[in-house]
């Protein structure tokens, strides 16, 4: 009807329970973030969430899991023993 649909690049819902992963690397990087949160931050999700918000804000049009990857890379750089940002 009215406004031009800007949802063309969105994966519109098709079925209940649809998974959000389009490629194996996406589920891998999802699990890697879970591993870092659990094993390096004692379960505190907030540091990763802050990085994710920053990564999305830095490039709003970037595909989601690529921002997720960038956020995890940034978080890993803050770990002790890493070269740093």
């Amino acid at each position: 009807m009215s406004t031009p649909l800007s949802l063309s690049d969105l994966d519109l819902p098709r079925r209940n329970g649809e998974l959000a992963f389009d490629a194996p690397w996406q589920s891998t990087v999802f699990a890697l973030a879970a591993a870092v949160v659990e094993h390096a931050f004692g379960g505190d999700r907030e540091p990763f969430r802050r990085q994710l918000i920053a990564a999305i804000a830095a490039e709003p049009g970037r595909p989601y899991w690529e921002s997720w990857t960038a956020a995890l890379e940034a978080l890993v750089r803050t770990l002790p023993g890493e070269p740093g940002p």
Binding site: L7, L10, G17, T28, L32, A35, Y64, T69, E73
Partner: protein, 197 residues
């Protein structure tokens, strides 16, 4: 199904970055063997919208449960055994004939994972996040969810502190159905608020 798909797709730069992350984190002992498979299969199989559907069906058949659910979502959902990461503070908002609720996360992708599983791709994309706040009625219509003109739309912005779950209206003509049958009617999208049942 793409034609001529006999050759593996070339590895993309982001895949290389993820492989590098995996190697680095494994070397540092942060990724136990089998962890990745365990996490992804747990989210695919155990955690997902079927949990939320059970919560909704229980609320439809048990008015006292519904009362508890609306008063303290986290506790009432924990009664059914669901909780954990990203489900610290769950708030359930009820649709009525005059009020339609929909959830969004304007900053990133906060989502009630223990009851809905992983967020769908569109939930995380900028057009949904921006437009659901700016023009919810138009966006809902584009997504196939048409509401009466006089229905009030309430948009709930999820955050690290609060995750929302929509309690959809029970569909008409379902009086004879069991709780399990009712749960089968509840879709993920109806619990995000982008569809009605």
């Amino acid at each position: 199904m793409s034609a001529g798909g006999h050759h593996p797709a070339p590895v993309s730069p982001v895949e290389q970055r993820v492989a590098a992350l995996e190697a680095l984190l494994t070397e540092r002992g942060l990724v136990p063997a089998g962890f990745i498979e365990e996490i992804t299969s747990r989210y695919a199989a155990e955690i997902g919208p079927m949990n939320g559907a059970k919560v909704v069906a229980r609320a439809w058949v048990d008015p006292r449960y519904k009362q508890r659910l609306l008063a303290d979502g986290t506790a009432a959902i924990a009664e059914l055994g669901f909780g954990g990461p990203e489900g610290d503070h769950l708030v359930v908002v009820e649709n009525t004939p005059g009020v339609h609720n929909v959830i969004v996360c304007t900053l990133c992708s906060c989502y009630p994972w223990p009851v809905l599983g992983l967020p769908p791709a569109w939930y995380k994309d900028p057009p949904y996040r921006a437009r659901m706040v700016r023009e919810p009625r138009a966006l809902l219509a584009e997504m196939g969810c048409r509401l009466p003109d006089d229905a009030e739309i309430r948009v709930w912005d999820s955050s690290a502190e609060v995750r929302y779950l929509v309690l959809p209206e029970r569909p008409p003509d379902t009086d004879g159905k069991t709780e399990a049958e009712l749960a089968g009617l509840v879709t993920r999208d109806s619990m995000i608020g982008v569809a009605r049942l």
